[in-house]
């Protein structure tokens, strides 16, 4: 049993759209990747290890794969037959491209009124930017997130690994699920128009609002935050073996406890008598915050990240270490929850995420490596009534 029993999804996600299909597959849908003969171009995207593209592998596990050349009438006929047996299609072609093949969402839904078609594109299906070219970086730039990411005096900074595109992918999974839920009551499908820019704009929960209500525009300030009526407090501190996040901000008891620990080391003695309940650092002006922070910075450098986390647990401070990726992926918390499972990718056997979230029953889970291009051609096309001879001919003609 699974969350999405008896749901077949065609995944025409191209190089942007792997994530939503993977999540639905983990939840138990049968997700069939439909690729051009030879496989999607995204299968070659760096970094590659052991012959496997890691970005491709990371977002295309648990799926099946067929190939079909949509530039040929025979390939389009195969796709139409596949559509007839599916509840949902997820696609990420540039707007108008499927229409040119005679496979527009409107057409597919007219022929199959129960079909959900989800289009995941940079700018959605309408609007002045609809025909523009886009990348993860350029969409983040337009969303306003990039202008406030980074450090004063340095260029705007991106989040790597297509995290902005992934927000769109998550929205596509959600939109598909909501449309499938609606379908369960009346049997009718619909078109789900997902825009990565809309998703990134929704994620930008501060800056448009700041402009609309305060007529103010924020810039890049590095690792500080304003949490009260005063200036900006730092939230990243260098310690003996790396960095921790902690903020002298918003809770009098926690602040007093932290300063007592610093005083015990002979530091920040000017603040021994300060009543944090009467005045929190977050409400001080910037010069006093700067003085206070300069006085406690050496405290962090006395300790390792582990020692600081240990003290924080004991004393109730909100403090956590920054981990690099090697440390992050091997932390005991993830291991204890069974977050990783070993999978074969190319010549490698490495841990991959085992589930999208934990559930007490029918646990959604990883269901196998990313498919080879067309590995399920014979099975799936014979289900559609194609004979072994038909399939051999399609292959010889380069359609599959």
């Amino acid at each position: 049993m699974s969350f999405l029993e008896h749901t077949r999804v065609l995944d025409l996600g191209g190089d942007w759209g792997g994530l939503p299909g993977q999540i639905l597959a983990q939840m138990g849908a049968e997700v069939i990747r439909v690729e051009p003969p030879g496989g999607d171009a995204a299968r070659r995207r760096a970094p590659v290890a052991g012959g496997a593209s890691l970005p491709w592998a990371a977002f295309n596990m648990s799926k099946r794969s067929v190939t079909a050349d949509l530039n040929t009438p025979a390939g389009r006929a195969l796709l139409l037959d596949l559509v007839a047996g599916a509840q949902a299609v997820i696609e990420s072609h540039r707007p108008g491209q499927l229409e040119a093949f005679g496979l527009s969402a409107e057409h597919l839904i007219t022929v199959h009124p129960g079909l959900v078609v989800t289009s995941l594109t940079a700018f959605g299906q309408c609007g002045p930017r609809v025909a523009e070219h886009a990348s993860d970086t350029t969409v983040m730039a337009l969303s306003g997130l990039m202008a406030v990411t980074g450090f004063a005096g340095l260029p705007p900074l991106r989040l790597g690994f297509d995290q902005i595109t992934s927000l769109g992918g998550l929205q596509a999974a959600l939109g598909t699920l909501i449309a499938l839920y609606a379908r369960a009551s009346d049997g009718l499908g619909q078109h789900v128009d997902v825009s990565v820019l809309d998703a990134a704009r929704l994620a930008n929960y501060r800056e448009p609002l700041r402009w609309e209500f305060q007529r103010a525009v924020e810039t890049r300030r590095g690792n500080v935050a304003r949490r009260g009526r005063g200036g900006f407090t730092s939230n990243v501190w260098r310690c003996r073996d790396g960095w921790v996040t902690w903020s002298a901000s918003d809770d009098p008891k926690r602040a007093r406890s932290f300063f007592d620990a610093a005083h015990a080391k002979g530091m920040a003695l000017d603040w021994q008598d300060h009543n944090f309940a009467a005045e929190l650092p977050a409400d001080m002006d910037q010069s006093r915050i700067d003085a206070l922070e300069a006085a406690i910075a050496p405290f962090f450098e006395l300790y390792s990240r582990n020692e600081l986390e240990e003290m924080a647990r004991e004393k109730g401070w909100i403090l956590i270490a920054f981990l690099d990726m090697a440390e992050a992926r091997s932390q005991p918390q993830l291991g204890a929850r069974g977050f990783w499972t070993e999978e074969n990718l190319g010549q490698l056997r490495i841990p991959v995420p085992a589930f999208p979230f934990r559930a007490s029953a029918d646990q959604p889970r990883h269901r196998g490596p990313p498919p080879e291009p067309g590995q399920d051609n014979a099975t799936i096309y014979s289900e559609l009534g194609r004979s072994p001879e038909d399939i051999a001919r399609l292959k010889a003609e380069g359609v599959i």
Binding site: R45, A57, G124, P128, E132, S135, M146, F161, L202, R358
Partner: protein, 399 residues
């Protein structure tokens, strides 16, 4: 009113701040009846978050709160009052799903944990959202939105080479995790509809962020150490932002293919150099190709540069600030927000979902004032009589 995709679903929503409410907002905007259980005695911090409109402060004048709580109903219940807990329990047991993102153990301590609720209603769905999950050695960890950025490696990978890790002023975990949570919610409700069975779902910010960083985690496991690389890509060059003619003006550009690079060289009147003709050559000297691109962008405004690059098929866009995003014609065309008259704030943009459904479109409704629906919900959902409700009020359970 046309039909909403999730009409008929009732959610008893104890979640507050960002990571829970952003998930239930997605459901509410699509027709689910989301009952936000909240209290004046322990106010949702989002109601205390600026900007405030006019001279009114909390609880009803926060524009920040409005954004995250569209289309919901508000039920004021004090969970530190035993009668309040009893009322909340009745509402929970009359709902398809319960959602919470309190600190570790809170729901169990007040007697509204999964064990108690599922024993009385076996088909209940319950979803918890937390920083690191409800089990495991760190299950008791208390943190805030950006804690997951630190411990997932995301902050470490965000920055310039050899610089410090970066905590962004928006908590990415607070926007990515609610999407995982909402996906889990619809999946679990679909399973409930089909099988009549309940399930408890435990969504972790750390795990949600690690899903999105899976390519980096897998590369690290494969022996490729992952470090912050600024704005660059591993698969193409140049990629990033490039200085333009004005003060702090930048254009973002991705030159994805060899053809794109050749087209740029022609646009910029640069003689194509053999060493940069292939992506491997450009990746071998990113500084060199970035300098060439910036020499061209520096003489132009972001818009002029982006338009010229778009015209030859290259992904390019201005780095927009909050004002430009607010006024962006494309976003306005897509109606990413609807202006609704709020009783305290006045007309205010209520943000819409990031996808459009053609047949059952989202209908973004008013974000509620605190306790606006208390009586109505106690009467019509929980089935209490008027004098019972009045007695709860007198006992201080409904504040």
């Amino acid at each position: 009113m046309t039909r909403g995709a999730l009409d008929g679903i009732r959610v008893c929503d104890f979640s507050w701040v960002g990571a829970g409410p952003r998930a239930t907002k997605e459901l509410a905007d699509h027709g689910a009846e989301v009952l936000k259980i909240e209290s004046r005695s322990r106010l949702d911090p989002a109601r205390k978050a600026p900007p405030f409109i006019g001279s009114d402060g909390p609880p009803d004048a926060s524009a920040f709160f409005v954004m995250t709580n569209t289309s919901k109903k508000s039920v004021a219940i004090d969970l530190s009052n035993p009668q309040g807990v009893a009322v909340a329990k009745r509402i929970a047991l009359n709902s398809h799903m319960v959602v919470e993102n309190f600190g570790p153990g809170f729901m169990d301590r007040i007697g509204l944990g999964w064990d108690v609720l599922s024993a009385e209603r076996p088909d209940l769905v319950m979803v918890s959202v937390s920083i690191v999950g409800r089990t495991g050695p760190l299950a008791g960890f208390r943190g805030y939105g950006n804690s997951a950025a630190a411990t997932s490696g995301q902050a470490f990978l965000t920055g310039f080479p050899d610089g410090p890790p970066h905590l962004t002023n928006y908590a990415f975990g607070d926007v990515a995790t609610p999407l995982f949570a909402a996906i889990a919610m619809i999946g679990a409700l679909e399973r409930q509809r089909r099988t009549g069975k309940g399930v408890y779902v435990d969504v972790s910010q750390l795990e949600s962020m690690m899903q999105l960083l899976a390519p980096a985690a897998m590369a690290e496991a494969a022996g490729l150490p992952q470090r912050s690389i600024g704005n660059r890509e591993t698969w193409c060059a140049p990629n990033g932002v490039f200085r333009c003619s004005g003060e702090d003006d930048w254009v973002a550009v991705t030159i994805a293919t060899d053809a794109d690079w050749a087209a740029f060289c022609q646009l910029a009147n640069r003689t194509p150099e053999n060493r940069y003709a292939s992506v491997a050559g450009r990746l071998a000297d990113p500084d060199g190709v970035e300098r060439m691109l910036e020499a061209w962008t520096e003489a132009r405004t972001p818009k002029v540069a982006a338009d010229a690059l778009q015209a030859i098929g290259i992904a390019a866009a201005p780095v927009q600030d909050g004002q430009e995003v607010s006024e962006d014609p494309h976003l306005q065309h897509r109606k990413i927000a609807e202006v609704i008259e709020h009783p305290v704030i006045g007309p205010i943009r209520h943000v819409a979902p990031a996808f459009k459904l053609s047949r059952t479109p989202a209908q973004v409704g008013l974000a509620p004032c605190l306790g606006a629906d208390t009586r109505d919900v106690l009467r019509n959902v929980a089935g209490f009589l008027e004098d019972e409700i009045t007695a709860f009020e007198r006992a201080g359970a409904l504040q």
